[in-house]
Every structure is written in C-alpha cells, then in structure tokens.
C-alpha cells in the first residue's frame, strides 16, 4: 500500500523527467494523458483505502484522510480529462508548428510537476511541506500560464506569480503562528508541524493566537483561492493561459487552496467556536457579489468563466461559513466538473472564432455544435439551473444559511447569483442563436471529443436528480472530518 502511495506521488515526477527525452510533440501529449491516468488509478486505490480507514498515513509526513482523499480524487480526475483535451487543443498548433517539440517538453514537464505538487499539497501531513508544495504549484502553474511567451500572458503570469507568492508568504506566517502556539502546549517540539498533532492540540490553543493564525492563513490562501478582494490575478491568469491550463487552474488549483484553508478552520474552530463563520461569511458574500457585478459587463469568454469561478469560490466559502461543510464539498465537486467542461468548450469556441470576445461569436450551435451546446448547457449549470447538481448544492448551502439565521447573507447571496444569472443568460442567448453577419468563422479547431462534454454534463445531471450512496458517504465522511465529527 505504501508503495502505491509513494508511486502515486512519484509517477508525475518520473513522467516530468521522461518527457524531457521524448522527441515528438504528439507523443509528449500522449504521455501526459497516460501518466495522469496512471496517477489517477493509483490515487483511486489510495483514496478508497483512506475512506475505508478514516486515516491512512505514510510515515509522519504523508497521509490521506477523507478530506484530502476527496480533493485528491478531484485533482486527478480533472487532470486526466484536461490532458485528453490538451491533445485536442494543441493539435492545430502542432499542425502549424507553433507548438514545437521544446515547447511541448516544457508543457509536459510543468504539467506533471504541477500535478505532482498538487497531489503533494493534499497528501502532506506536514504543514510546512504542504506550504512548500503550494508554493511549487504557484511557480509551475505560473510558468504554464505564460507558455506561449507573448506580452499579455507574461504580464498575467507575472501578476499571478507575485500576488500568490505574497499571499503564500502571509499564509506561512499563519502556519508559523499556529505551530508556535502548538509548541507552547505540546510535549515534543518535533511534531508541531503535523496536522494530526495540531488537530489534537486544537482545543488547547489560545483563542487570540489561533485567530491571528487564521487571519493570516485566510488572506494568504484566500489570495490563492481567488476570494474577493484578493482575486485580482485570477481573471488575468485564467484569461491568458492555454485553455487546458485554465481548466486545471479553476478546476482544482483553487480547491487546493480552499483545502488548506479548511485545514485551518479545523484547527481554529475548537478554540473559537462559531468565530470562523463570522469571518468567512462576509468574504463569501463579497466574492459572490463582486463576481456577479463583473460578469455583467464581461465580454471575454474566458474571463467570464474566471469571474464565475470567483463567484463559486465565494459560494463554497459561504458553505464553510454556514457550517454546511458537506454542501461546500459537494459544490466544490460540481463546480470543478462543470467549470472544466465549460473551459473545454470555450477553448474550442475561441479557436473557431479567433476571438475571445463573446459579442463577436454568433450562432455557436450551428458553427460548433458540440462546443456550442456544451458551453450553453455549462453556463446554465453554472448559473444554478436545475436539474443540474449545482442548483442542489446552492440550495443546500442557502438552506444551511437560513438555518444558521444568516438571513441577510443568504438574501445577498441569492440576489447576486440572480444578477449573474441574468447577465449570463443575456450573453448566452445572443451567442447561441444570433445570426452571424459576415462569413462563417474559419478558425482551425482542435476537434473536441464529444465525451469530454457529454460525460461531465451527464454526471452533473445525474447528481442533480440522484445522489449515489458512495458519493454521499464520501462527502459525509469528509464533511464530518472538518466538522470535527
């Protein structure tokens, strides 16, 4: 079992090295697919173990509990599908030679390092190690964002890099404070960085110090998770990154940041019962509101999706704030799947129409039927229309908010979502059906595979009308883990 775990972490690194010695771009992309799929299989095995036994530790530094297993599964799932899409996405670039083999090498290496660092983030038991892995994700993904070295993408990458490094440094302060606090009460000073230890010591921490730690962690990881008002980097990075990278960024990277944050909730809540929710709810509401306000006038298709990501991060944070951890995790899942799919479709559309400006895209259903319909349905799912599962999780979260008597927050949340709904529908309808003046768009598209769109949609629909027992068990397990159950 340990071997499996280690190899789960090792395979990405090995592949990262391997692609350096591969000649041909296509085969590199193929390696990306197979490598991430292999990782995924191993992860599933470990996760299954982790769910069966509440905690599954390798030595002191590495572990899988239900929470991290849940996130790890998301990571590998999204990565595998995105790798499949990457093959389609880069096909035209390979054809016209702009995506040459050294570029492909760079992509492959960074791609796998990104994957590995993210897996390390969720599977490390050592706060410091987790922090380091988090920082590693920043660096690798930043380099992925500026893969094609044009001015705007480099600018975006630079913004992303600096902001997230600053944030992460602040998060480090939070970790340090927490650990120092723990070292005040713990017998041996060597284990104070271990989440397991911190979790045991949590009730004994002094409230003030715990709050200080949480505040720094919130700002730090919140920056990385793109919570308003620290979300500034997010639209730029998502907008200019290659689409598979954007999919992964908003699909899982931000979840990982939230994962670290939830670890902190775990530690701070016992000493300050009920306090974290009072910090988190305003952030959630602010994020949803700001995102909605920006969606209204957004014409860049990828930035639109980016802002909707901010919105959904806010919703998840609201879920945490309302104490509906299960709902928050469920929403995390739904959002990752849906956002990934929407990014795939948007990528195809951008390639077809040679622009990111939605007001210049017309009749998408006719010209790019798979991507067009996928994007439309994805938007409908994102704005919380049933029978897609996002509606369910949002309802669940709002219900929890009412139960916790955060009436104002819930009303603000729902009205902001409604605003986003209106803006998005107006865009989507015009995009989908408006008659194109001028010739049909002739951009060369990496033919997007139907299953890449149909599978996630089917999943969202299924979860919208039927909650399979295993998933609800997983969510319940992870949620009870945070809830200190």
């Amino acid at each position: 079992m340990t071997a499996i775990f280690i190899s789960m972490l090792a395979i990405p690194v090995l592949c990262a090295v391997l692609v350096l010695f591969v000649r041909e771009a296509r085969s590199i992309l193929r390696i990306c697919v197979w490598g991430s799929v292999a990782t995924a299989i191993l992860t599933v095995v470990c996760a299954q173990r982790a769910f069966s036994t509440s905690l599954f530790a390798i030595g002191r530094q590495l572990m899988f509990d239900s929470l991290s297993a849940y996130h790890a599964l998301l990571v590998v799932g999204v990565f595998s599908l995105s790798s499949v899409y990457a093959c389609a996405y880069f096909a035209p670039a390979i054809a016209d030679g702009s995506f040459d083999e050294e570029k492909a090498r760079g992509f492959g290496t960074l791609w796998f390092l990104f994957l590995g660092s993210m897996l390390l983030t969720v599977s490390s038991n050592n706060a410091g190690l987790m922090w380091v892995a988090m920082e590693a994700t920043t660096i690798t993904s930043a380099l992925l964002v500026c893969l094609d070295r044009d001015q705007p993408s480099v600018q975006a990458a630079w913004t992303y890099l600096l902001m997230c490094s600053v944030g992460i440094a602040l998060a480090l302060v939070g970790i340090l404070v927490a650990c120092a606090e723990a070292q005040g009460v713990s017998p041996d000073s060597s284990s104070i960085f271990l989440w397991t230890t911190l979790r045991e010591l949590a009730p004994q921490l002094s409230p003030g110090a715990a709050r200080l730690a949480f505040i720094f962690a919130l700002v730090g990881f919140g920056t990385k998770a793109g919570l308003a008002p620290m979300h500034g980097w997010l639209p730029e990075a998502h907008g200019h990154a290659p689409t598979p990278v954007s999919a992964v960024l908003s699909g899982v990277l931000l979840n990982c940041a939230l994962y670290c944050l939830s670890r902190f909730v775990l530690i701070v809540e016992p000493s300050n019962p009920g306090w974290t929710s009072h910090v988190l709810v305003p952030f959630g509401v602010l994020s949803v509101a700001v995102a909605a306000a920006f969606i209204v006038h957004e014409r860049d298709i990828k930035r639109l999706l980016a802002f909707s990501t901010v919105e959904h991060m806010g919703i998840i944070i609201l879920g945490f704030g309302f104490g509906a951890y299960g709902a928050a995790l469920f929403h995390t899942f739904n959002h990752s799947i849906c956002k990934m799919m929407s990014f795939f479709c948007s990528g195809a559309l951008v390639q077809r129409y040679r622009t990111r400006d939605m007001s210049k895209m017309h009749g998408t259903l006719g010209h790019e039927s798979v991507a067009g319909s996928g994007f439309l349905l994805g938007l409908f799912a994102l704005i919380g229309l049933p029978p897609f599962s996002i509606f369910m999780s949002e309802l669940w979260i709002a219900r929890a908010g009412i139960a916790e008597e955060h009436i104002v927050a819930v009303v603000a949340f729902l009205s902001a979502v409604a605003l986003a709904f209106i803006a998005t529908v107006l865009r989507a309808v015009e995009m989908t059906w408006a008659e194109a003046e001028g010739p049909a768009p002739d951009g060369s598209v990496g033919r997007i595979r139907l299953e890449l769109v149909a599978l996630p949609l089917a999943l969202l629909f299924l979860l919208g009308v039927w909650m399979p027992q295993p998933l609800s068990n997983m969510i319940a397990g992870a949620a009870s883990f945070i809830g200190g159950g």
Binding site: I215, G274, P387, V425, S472
Partner: protein, 682 residues
C-alpha cells in the same frame, strides 16, 4: 391513485424523446409528439376527473434520494383540479400543433411576412415537440410535488422548457429578447420562492409539505413574510399587474399553441402555488384578503385597458391574461375574506369562483389563441389593422372565436359568466355578512369594491373583444394579406370546436363543472363543518339559458314567417351619402378603442407619432399611436439602466494594475486584524 399521472407523464416524456430521435422528419416527430401528448391528456383528464368526483388523496415517496432530502409526490383535490386544467388545455394544444406545423410548405406562418426576407427553410420542430412534452410534464410535476425541493426543480424545469418554446423562432431578434425577458422574470420569481420555501422548511424542520403542515401555523411575522413572498414570487409567473411585463413579450413571440398552453395553464400554476402556500399559513388576517382583492382589481382593470390599446392580436390576448388573473385573484381575495371573517359560504363561493375561472380561462384563452394562430396561419399577420372580413372566408374560426370572445367578456350563457357570477354572489354575501356583523370594516369596503370592479372589467372586456372580433372577422378585408385566407386544416379546427363546445356546455350546465370545483375549494377552506353543495347557487342557470335559446328560436321562426315571400333587396352599405368608400376607410381597431380609453387616459401612456394634414391640399399624412407598458417603460427600464451604469463604474477596481490588487491584500489583512483579532464579530 398517483400511478395514472405517473403513466401519463412517462408517456409524454417518452413521446418527446422519441420525437427527438426522429427529428429528421418533422411529420413523424410531430405525429409522435402529438399522439403522446394526446394519450397522456386522455389519461390525465380521466384520472383527474375521477379523482375530483370521488375524492381522496395520496402521498408516496420516490424510491431514490435527491441530494437534498427525499422526493415526495402526492395528489389531492387541489392538485387534481390543476392537473385537469393542464391536461385539458395541453391536449387540445398538442392536437392543434399537429395541424399547425403539419404542412409548413403551404402555411405562411412558418415564414411570416414579418420575418427577415430570406426564406426560412422549414425548420426542425422536434426540439419544440420535446420542450412541449417537458413543459407539460414539469407542470404536472409541480402539482404532484409534495416537498419544496421537487417543487422548485419542477418549477425551474417549467421555466426553462417554456423558454425554449418561446424562442422557437429564435432567428428573430425580438423573439430572443422576449425569451430572455421571460426567463429572467421567472428566475427573479424563483429567487423569492427559494427564500419562501427555505423559510417554510426552517419552520417545519424539513422541505416536505407534510412536515410543514404538521408544524402548524407559523407566527404572524413569518406568516406575513411568507404571504408576501408567495404573492410576489408566484405573482411573477401568474402575471399580476406590475409583475406582468414578460407576458406581453413572450406570448406574441411563441407559436400559437404554445401561447395557448402558457397563457391557459402555465401562468395558472402561480395561482396553484399561492393557494398551496396559503394552506400552510393558517387562518388569514383580514389585510391579506384586502390586499389580494386590491391586487386583483388593479390587475383586472389595467390589464384590460392595456389590452384595449393593443394592435397586435396576440399582445391583446396576453394582456387579457393579466386581466383574467386579476379576476381569479379577486375570487381568491373573496375566499380569504370569508375565511378571515368566519363565513365559510363566502369563502366557498370565492374560491370556487377563482378555481372555476382558472378552468374557464384555460378553455377560452386556449380557444382564442388557437383562433389567433389560425388567422396568423392563414394570413401571415397578427396585426389587427391589416385584417378584416375574415368571417366570410374562415367561418369556423370566426364562430369559435366569437364564442370565445363572448365567454371571456363574461356574458351569459357561457362559462366565463358562471365563474364571475360565483364571485359576485360571494362578494354580495360577504358584504351582507360583514355589514350585519363587523359594520364599516375595510373588509366590507373591499367586498363591495369587487362589484363595480367586476362590472367595469366585464364592460371593458366586451368592448375590447367587439373591437378584436369586429376588426378581424367583420367588414371588408383591409389589406391583401387576407386574400385567399381559408379555414385551417381539420387538425386545427377540432381543438377550437371542442373548446367552444366546452365553453357553451359549462355555461349552460354549470352544476357539472362545479362538482369538479367543490372538493378543491373545501380543501383550501379546511374547516370541519360541511359546506353547502355549489350546485344550488346556479340551479336556475340552465332554465334561463333554455328560455333564452327558446326565445331566440321563436323569434327566428317569427322572422322566417314574416320574411317568407317578401322581396329582399341587396346593396352596398349606406355611406351616408359618401360615394366612394374604400375598405381602408373602415373603423380601425385604434379608432374603435379611442373613446373607450379616453376617460382612462391617466392610467395609460399612449405617445402619438403623427404628421397631420396641413393646408388646403394636404399631402400624405399619417398618425401612429402605441400604448407603452407603464411598468416596463417607466420603472424597469430606468432601473436596469441605472444598475448597468453603476456596475460599469465598479470595473475600475479591475484595471490590471497589480499594485492595486496587492493594495487590496494589505487593506484586507489590516481590516481583518483590526476587526476580528479582538474576537470581533464572534
């Protein structure tokens, strides 16, 4: 007791999906879809009717779980009644659709003159067939839902399928915008409904209706909050005045049988929602009834006034939906009045009137929209001032439309009159009861206000439909659009004939229809003591109708006897001495409506674009007048514009300057430290 409806829904959904599978051929897709819907309607109508007559109710839990809570379905008298309306109207519309799109080749409607010049190829109707099936299924689901989540899901499904139906001719920009307006309006309503149901769930400890009912009546604050939320949230769908703005957009945009279904039953589900929620809220205070009556009066009067001012037939009908929803609301208000003053008979009359009018409006509004569809199908236009004289070329459409017009104007001996009669009786009784007991209470005034309001609405509606019928079917054809118009194919005639027949039947023999209404009404009222049978209130109607018919026949006989072997001269209409009248000189819809609207000028904005004849030998002159919707024009438009510009201003915080973003980080951390570190907020 539920399975017949489950079966009907299954058949309908299956037929819709099958239509999608056979989307290559419009004919096949339509045949499958319409057949499925028709069978489903037969099952649904029979099951619902049987249940309404025999009574009883059932609740069952679905075998599987929603992500939030379990799925509960059930049926009782109230659901059964609305299921009856749904399946009746949707079945007729399905048959109509088969005729409407059956031959896109020769029909002008699929490529109307109004549309862009480039010829629209006969477009695939399979998606529309599927959405129609989905619409009906989701409406049935709403009435069957017994827990809030399922209710909301079905509700949203209804909105979305409705959206895809409205945007059927989505290559036209105005159709797209109508669709978006519709979707937005319904979603805004849904937000309120979400809050409403979450409050109820909070009160009842669960989304299931059983739990909410079991928790007993909520306290006054919660009850009032829920009442207002329900009134506004469901009112957006039902189209109470000031929440109605999507109606006159969406109905003209949709194909006619869709408008028939939407206006005939879909908006009624707002009424269903209000009634259902009222059943959770316990005994109503007096101000509820007063406010509902007020809302109803306003909706009725303003709705019919705006209808009078329209030149587009389907817009006119859409505004009449607002008017009729107003009448239904008045009925509900009278019912609430009876409840709050402990006069069960008044409540019975009010609710029975409201429910019966729901059914009636479904019938005659469906009939009228089908008639409008036939006119559009035959002439390619739905603008009143381009039509005329169709009564001779389209006799069946004309007769059925005339019956529908008389019915919607609430004239005896037709069904519209019966429901209004019940409301009148309720109001009179309520006034009498209150006046003997409570004296000058706001309730009395409200009850008495109902009487002139209904009278005024009836008079104006009559005026409006004289105008509509007269301009379309009487006189001379005004434009070439009317050339070669003919009655639609049998597939389209049949639903109109059936609808007209039902209107007459209910009007002449109301007791039968009232038996369908009895149980749901008493279900809403609750209460232990048995209520009097409704039949007694209309016992004399058949006799009156009979006398009327007898007298008519007698007079016909007399006239026949007199005119026998008399010479009957035929000539042109006397032009009062004017020698060269042309068909353009006939009284137009606008000129007919002018004196009716003139006294109400305050309530209605009608800007005029005119260049009037000048000098002795005036050149061409023209005069246009359009009624603008006050709410849409003077409330919603400025509000949304203000919001948009405000949101554009916000964008300065996202300029791409990293320094600014980092500044936000610093700001955030400082604020957090200052406010929360001392344990603030905790």
């Amino acid at each position: 007791m539920i399975w017949p409806f489950a079966l009907a829904m299954a058949i309908q959904l299956a037929s819709g999906i099958a239509a999608l599978l056979f989307r290559r051929s419009n004919r096949v897709a339509l045949a499958i879809g319409s057949a499925g819907s028709f069978i489903a309607s037969l099952i649904g109508v029979t099951a619902a009717g049987q249940l309404l007559l025999s009574g009883g109710s059932a609740v069952a839990a679905m075998p599987w779980q929603l992500p939030v809570g379990e799925l509960l379905v059930g049926v009782d008298a109230l659901s059964a009644f609305f299921l009856l309306c749904i399946y009746l109207v949707s079945g007729l519309s399905a048959v109509y659709a088969a005729g409407y799109f059956g031959d896109p080749s020769d029909s002008k409607a699929v490529a109307p003159k109004a549309v862009a010049p480039k010829a629209v190829a006969p477009k695939a109707v399979a998606p529309m067939v599927f959405s129609f099936a989905l619409l009906v299924v989701s409406m049935a689901g709403i009435t069957l839902a017994r827990d809030g989540v399922l209710f909301l899901v079905a509700w949203e499904l209804m909105s979305i399928s409705g959206f895809f139906l409205v945007t059927f001719e989505h290559e036209r920009q105005e159709v797209r915008s109508a669709g978006t307006v519709y979707l937005i309006a319904s979603h805004v309503g849904v937000v309120l409904l979400l809050i409403l149901f979450m409050l109820l769930a909070q009160h009842g400890g669960g989304f299931s209706f059983a739990a909410i009912t079991a928790a007993g009546a909520p306290g006054p604050y919660l009850a009032n909050a829920c009442f207002i939320l329900a009134l506004v949230g469901f009112g957006t769908k039902a189209g109470f005045w000031s929440l109605h703005t999507w109606l006159p957009e969406a109905h003209p945009a949709a194909p006619s049988h869709i408008s028939a279904t939407m206006s005939g039953v879909m908006i009624k589900l707002g009424i269903y929602g209000v009634l259902r929620v009222l059943s959770f809220l316990g005994p109503p205070p007096l101000w509820w009834s007063v406010s509902v009556i007020g809302l109803g009066v306003v909706s009725g009067v303003l709705g019919v006034l705006h209808a009078l001012a329209q030149h587009d037939l389907k817009r006119l009908l859409a505004y009449h939906s607002v008017e009729n929803i107003g009448i239904i609301a008045i009925g509900i208000g009278v019912g609430l009045l009876g409840q709050s003053t402990g006069a069960p008979v008044v409540a019975l009359l009010g609710y029975a009137g409201a429910l019966l009018h729901t059914l009636n409006h479904g019938l005659f509004k469906g009939l009228l929209f089908h008639g409008a569809g036939s006119v559009l199908h035959a002439t390619g236009t739905k603008s009143l001032d381009e039509l005329g004289g169709l009564g001779r070329t389209m006799p069946i459409t004309a007769v059925t439309f005339l019956i529908g017009s008389a019915a919607i104007s609430g004239l005896p001996p037709l069904n519209g009159f019966i429901s209004e009669l019940l409301i009148y009786l309720g109001a009179f009784r309520g006034a009498a009861v209150l006046q003997s007991e409570a004296g000058q209470s706001p309730g009395t005034v409200a009850a008495l206000a109902v009487i002139p309001a209904l009278a005024l609405i009836g008079g104006l509606a009559a005026a409006c439909f004289v105008k509509a019928y007269g301009t379309i079917f009487l006189g001379h054809p005004r434009t070439a659009a009317c050339d070669g118009a003919a009655d639609p194919p049998p597939g389209m005639r049949l639903p109109m004939i059936i609808g007209a027949a039902l209107c007459v039947a209910i009007g002449i023999w109301p007791a039968a229809a009232l038996r369908l209404v009895e149980r749901p009404a008493s279900l809403i009222i609750g209460g232990a003591e048995p209520l009097p049978p409704l039949g007694q209130f209309v016992a004399a109607i058949p006799l009156v109708a009979l006398v009327l018919v007898a007298v008519v026949i007698g007079l016909i006989g007399l006239r026949y006897a007199l005119m026998r072997n008399r010479e009957v001269a035929v000539g042109p209409t006397w032009g009062c001495g004017y020698e060269a009248p042309s068909s353009r000189m006939q009284y137009t819809a606008a000129s007919f409506a002018e004196p009716v609207l003139e006294p109400f000028a305050v309530a209605l904005k009608r800007p005029v674009h005119a260049d009037l004849p000048k000098g002795y030998f005036p050149a061409a002159a023209n005069y246009e007048q359009h009624a603008v919707d006050v709410i849409a024009e003077y409330v919603l438009a400025p509000a949304s514009f203000g919001l948009l510009s405000a949101l554009r201003k916000i964008r300065v915080i996202q300029t791409g300057h990293m320094q600014l973003y980092l500044g936000f980080i610093l700001m955030t951390i400082v604020v957090l430290l200052v406010w929360y570190l001392p344990g603030g907020g905790g």
